[in-house]
Amino acid sequence: MTPLLKIENTVSGYDEADVLAGVSLDVAEREITCLLGANGAGKTTLIRTLLGLNPIRSGKVFFKTTEITGWPTHEIVRLGITCVPEGRRVFPAMTVLENLRMGGYLNESKSDISERLDYAFTIFPKLKERVGQLAGTMSGGEQAMLTIARGLMGNPELIIFDEPSLGLSPLFVKENFRVIQEINGQGISVLLVEQNVRQTLAISHVGHVLAQGKIITSGNTETLRESDALKAAYFGG
């Protein structure tokens, strides 16, 4: 079976330096694939590159059978990819509701949107209380909730999460992992980046470890958990 997302030998970076030195990675359909690695390993860079936010220097990216290398972001997204970006990127001068509407920008079905809105509100009741608040004035964690909720508004085949639980309180960290599993249960594939290695491995099917711009080890999560490479990646060993 062809993977949903296929990244081949991707090289990318900022200014002169390459951050990714030839990364290959597959995301299989209906699975949660996690990407692990120390800070600055290049996880975010990889995500940005595959979404066309960073120019790709060499390598190829496929979604299903379509090669999307070099496509503009909005067209890649249109194929059915949603991203919950790193760093609580809300639209600060829009209300919570408007932010959620932006999440459903490509979703043409009004009824689907309102269903998803309800779903988001049941996960994060706080957002429901605050539909009219400007997102920029919310607390850090509330903004994190909003980016996650916004990511749930579309109708994607693949969701990419980049450190979604940053700044969430323990209760919501748990909730967040539960939601990811639930989404996956609906048949949506997930690419997950998280610092919380233990819990991430617990819900993922497959994992990849990124260090020095390369995937140093991949495999199913049981084997990864024991792998030395993982420890090395995190503890600079």
Partner: protein, 304 residues
């Protein structure tokens, strides 16, 4: 003062206000989408008026009926300026995104100069004022001392319609949401599936089309256009937009009418009417001190 004259001042102010508001709405749109000031806006307005005039002259040569001509004149002006707006955006505004924002102001300012000088030099005897054809019915109704002309009414109506259309377009379609999203966070907007370039180009086209409506209205109302007319109108339009509160369509409208009102009051009040601009701008300074983010301020989203 007798009521007729008061009404007359009011009507004068109203027409002026509509024209200012049309210009101000353009500024607010550009500001809303890219947080830039486009200083060539007044000159685009002038170019719109000249495009319309040239179209009319062409049409009247081949003997098109005035009614049809009126519509075609609008179409030509609007389409032409929408195109110019998009061109400015594509070649002057977008490439400067990485640079300090004020540089956009400078490049558009220079572009305004280029437009103005080009019209002056290359439009046949372009340095002279040009009569604008009377395309609207000019029946006048006298109510005591008030002279109400049909064309003034039509222009006010037209301007208001154009603004309402813009408002609806922005509010009722996703486009408005996209404009704001792009302004606040370009990358995230793209992640949501917004085609950044299209949105920005369309916004510039829309704003410039409104300028064309403003320019043609100015021509129809004053029956005269000239290559320098955009200078003051641009400045006042900008002031109105800021005064009303940048990024707010209603603010731009309020600002436009307020500015017209200030000038009218100033002209009546002072023995030397030239003081009216001193008056209007002095009041602007005071209003800004009172409401630092404009009359209809944006809600402040900054937090710590």
């Amino acid at each position: 003062m007798d009521l007729g004259f008061l009404a007359q001042f009011f009507v004068n102010g109203l027409v002026l206000g509509v024209i200012y508001a049309l210009v101000a709405v353009g500024f607010t749109l550009f500001f809303g989408v890219l947080d830039v000031i486009k200083f060539s806006h007044g000159d685009v307005l002038m170019l719109g008026a000249f495009t319309a005039l040239a179209t009319y002259l062409g049409l009247s040569d081949i003997g098109v009926a005035p009614g049809v001509a009126l519509i075609l004149v609008f179409v030509a002006g609007i389409a032409g300026m929408a195109f110019v707006g998009a061109i400015v955006c594509k070649f002057l505004v977008l490439p400067l995104r990485g640079a300090p924002q004020l540089n956009t102001l400078l490049i558009t300012l220079m572009f305004g100069t280029v437009i103005r000088e080009s019209v002056r030099l290359f439009y046949p005897s372009g340095s002279n004022p040009k009569p604008f054809p009377k395309l609207l019915p000019d029946n006048a109704f006298e109510f005591g001392n008030l002279t109400l002309r049909l064309d003034s009414c039509i222009i006010v109506l037209l301007g208001i319609l154009a603004i309402i259309f813009t408002q609806l377009f922005i509010q009722k379609t996703k486009f408005g949401l996209a404009i704001r999203a792009v302004a606040q966070d370009e990358e995230t907007a793209r992640l949501m599936g917004v085609n950044f370039k299209t949105v920005v180009l369309l916004t510039f086209a829309l704003g410039s089309a409104l300028a064309a409506v403003g320019g043609i209205s100015t021509g129809l109302y004053y029956q005269e256009i000239n290559f320098a007319m955009g200078l003051m109108l641009g400045l006042i339009g900008f002031s109105s937009a800021v005064l009303g509160g940048l990024g707010s369509l209603y603010g731009a409208i309020a600002g436009g009418f307020l500015f017209a009102a200030l000038q009218t009051v100033g002209a009546v009040w002072f023995a030397v009417p030239a003081y009216k601009d001193v008056f209007a701008f002095a009041v602007v300074i005071m209003l800004m001190a009172w409401r630092p983010t404009g009359l209809l301020a944006e809600r402040n989203e900054e937090r710590v």
